[in-house]
């Protein structure tokens, strides 16, 4: 069962969301998938038409998703931003600070990265150097 990780821990993903791949989106698309190497110029719509953007992490070592998330937020996206894929609990604070609202992981990953370990990193507002230095609106 896919798990959604938030500041409060795990909750199983029970809603089915139909994501459109970003470069195939139309004016009525509400949910898009962004790959880690997305070029936002290929998204034909307006960011704020979207309810949810999901950004892929093919490997936890691929940090482009964090830059993409930041970019999307800087450009004014106010909707829901979700990270999906191979993300480990130690990256939770990074994800939240980059603008993600939550993280979607497989049950497999959830088994090896139990809820307690994600909650261990959920105080992401503390010890936050960049916010203290003036980078506090994404």
């Amino acid at each position: 069962m896919t798990q959604i990780v938030s500041d409060f821990g795990f909750s199983p993903l029970d809603k089915v969301i139909n994501y459109e791949f970003y470069d195939k989106a139309s004016k009525t698309t509400k949910a898009i998938d962004l790959p880690s190497d997305a070029d936002l110029k290929l998204f034909a719509g307006d960011l704020n038409q979207l309810k949810i953007i999901r950004i892929d992490f093919p490997s936890f070592a691929d940090g482009r998703g964090f830059t993409l998330a930041k970019l999307v937020r800087i450009r004014g996206f106010k909707g829901h931003l979700r990270a999906k894929g191979h993300i480990i609990s130690d990256q939770y604070a990074m994800a939240r600070r980059s603008g993600f609202d939550d993280v979607e992981i497989s049950q497999d990953l959830a088994d090896r990265q139990p809820e307690t370990e994600w909650l261990f990193r959920s105080n992401w507002k503390k010890h936050y150097y960049q916010s203290r230095l003036g980078f506090n609106k994404y």
């Binding site: 940090g63 964090f66 830059t67 130690d90 010890h127 150097y129 960049q130 230095l133 003036g134």
Partner: protein, 562 residues
């Protein structure tokens, strides 16, 4: 120097607690090695040839006596009684046990030290001119900015999983002692109409494809420093190659896309970031700057110095090679050589560390610096204290008078320690050093920089050595290639490859031939090796290195500084 606030202390405490937990999860199997590896790298823990290696950060190469004493304690308690100072102003311990590392990190935290981001695909230790705050040729002390950049880059949410490592160096002087032109970002502080700004150089780097950095901004105002850096790293995080780790550094990205294109992308991103940047908290910035205020210098005569200088030849020799003019008259910048003939370059025993701490506390306003040349600097020594300092150094074999001479060699750990190495570098450094000591030619030769790397990653900076030596594996045997005419200063230049490599037994005689040729063809003893090379080119040296080959005139491709 910067005093850690409660914020910094709390940060390190939380970070150490996270790492302790990560080690536990690795040992109990909740983290695979693939998952644990980037996490341990983010905390400076490498796996090397014979053991783990912990790289402790020494931010911009600055530390005080309490911190140096703690390093000595760590060496004694959890390692083998010594530490190695590196070409990025850090210190390495070669024998820690994984299970001890959380305790070592806690011990470091007691003196506000850590190993955060000294490894991994992160922004690494920001290095700085080792004479910062002391040299007369400075426009401003660059270290407050290095501290600002350190805080900005620490645990930066966007930049923990970059395509590769990212290195920043800063200087406040036109005379570049921080090798800024061979860094991913190099910053030179400037003064224009009474305001501080920065020349920004990007895409420098050594290693497989050495390149001198390119200027993308001739004057970046102080207030724009962080958002601009954020733009550079963001652009690179997006564009930097992830398919080939040998082509991932920003120097390749600049090379592949062109500097003008990258500059434009950076400007565009910078403008977007500005809209979300509220400016560095003014109080915070002032707090940082005031922490780097100069010490209260003493005002004394130099009688003891004058007498000792006149009467003690050994002391005089040491002063002539190892001290540098300080901006305050009657003060001196003293360099402690960690290059005693036949010793491992950059290593200090715990005993030696404690002595240096002791000297710094009493005679250098409690300040110590580590230079990228793997020596230790006492930045603020009153001349009248130099004789005492010299004797204290001498009692621990720290008085070698060879700074800037041929035995002041930079050498990476090489295959004696490093899992990446293709050959050993330490024995070569030792042999060259002992050879020229034996020949009694060091002072005759004068200023020359030999740099040795044990593999193509160039941690020994061989590309920018006047003489560079690169150790490779040729058909299962150690083989050493020579480069000539490199330059690590503001006239930065990548050295020219001399020709086929030499075996471990032939390399030192080869270096000897180069040096003897220099002594023969130089204009006079005031013309340093590098100037002779610039005047005559590689030909005479190539001839000396490969005497049996016929020399056909070759067009030498020279790389010039941006």
């Amino acid at each position: 120097m910067y005093n850690y606030t409660e914020f910094d202390d709390a940060f390190i405490k939380a970070r150490n607690s996270q790492f302790r937990n990560q080690v536990k999860r690795r040992i109990n199997g909740n983290l695979t090695e693939d998952e644990f590896k980037p996490l341990r790298l983010m905390n400076g823990l490498y796996l090397q040839l014979h053991a783990y290696m912990l790289r402790v950060a020494i931010p911009y190469g600055t530390l005080d006596s309490a911190q140096m004493e703690k390093l000595a304690l760590i060496a004694d308690r959890w390692d083998k009684g010594y530490g190695h100072f590196t070409t990025r102003q850090n210190v390495q311990f070669n024998w820690p046990k994984l299970t001890d590392v959380p305790d070592i990190l806690d011990a470091l935290a007691e003196v506000k030290m850590h190993a955060i981001q000294t490894s991994g695909n992160t922004i690494r230790n920001v290095t700085a001119d080792h004479f910062s705050g002391a040299a007369a040729d400075e426009v401003t002390d660059p270290r407050p900015y290095a501290e600002l950049i350190r805080q900005w880059s620490t645990d930066h949410p966007e930049f923990q999983f970059l395509p590769r490592k990212f290195k920043v160096a800063v200087t406040g002087s036109k005379n570049d002692r921080a090798v800024i032109r061979a860094h991913d970002i190099g910053l030179r502080a400037l003064l224009r109409n009474g305001k501080i700004g920065f020349e920004v150089i990007i895409g420098g780097g050594l290693g497989r494809s050495p390149m001198i950095g390119k200027v993308i901004n001739t004057f970046l105002p102080e207030a724009d420093l962080l958002p601009y850096l954020e733009a550079v790293v963001s652009v690179w995080n997006t564009l930097g190659r992830r398919d080939n780790k040998y082509k991932a550094r920003i120097k390749i990205t600049v090379h592949e896309h062109g500097v003008e294109k990258i500059k434009q992308l950076v400007e565009d991103r910078y403008n977007e970031i500005l809209s979300t940047f509220s400016g560095v908290n003014h109080e915070l910035l002032e707090e940082i700057k005031s922490a780097f205020a100069p010490p209260v210098f003493k005002s004394k005569g130099t009688k003891y110095f004058d007498i000792a200088y006149k009467e003690n030849a050994a002391f005089r020799s040491w002063v002539d090679t190892n001290t540098h003019t300080h901006k305050i008259s009657n003060y001196s910048i003293a360099t402690v050589s960690l290059k005693a003939h036949g010793k491992t370059p950059g290593d200090a025993t715990s005993d030696q560390m404690r002595q240096i701490a002791n000297i710094a506390r009493h005679y250098s306003h409690d300040q110590i610096r580590i230079s990228h040349e793997q020596n230790i600097i006492l930045p603020h020594v009153h001349k009248s204290d130099l004789p005492k300092v010299y004797n204290l150094l001498k009692s621990k074999q720290l008085n070698t008078a060879n700074i800037g001479l041929i035995s002041d060699i930079i050498a990476c750990p090489g295959m004696d320690y490093c899992a990446l190495a293709t050959a050993r570098s330490i024995p070569i450094a030792q042999e060259i050093s002992m050879r020229f000591d034996e020949l009694k030619l060091e002072h005759e030769v004068g200023h020359i920089q030999i740099k040795i790397s044990g593999c193509i990653n160039a941690c020994g900076h061989h590309h920018v050595g006047h003489i560079g030596i690169l150790g490779l594996d040729r058909a299962g045997v150690e083989n050493y290639q020579i480069t000539l005419g490199g330059d690590a200063t503001e006239t930065a230049r990548i050295g020219d490859r001399a020709g086929p490599g030499f075996s471990a037994t032939q390399i030192v005689p080869a270096i000897e031939r180069v040096i003897l040729t220099y002594l023969k063809v130089r204009l006079n003893k005031h013309e340093n090796f590098i100037h002779t090379y610039q005047r005559l080119g590689i030909a005479p040296f190539k001839q000396a290195l490969y005497p049996k080959e016929s020399q056909s005139p070759k067009i030498q491709k020279k790389t010039y500084a941006a």
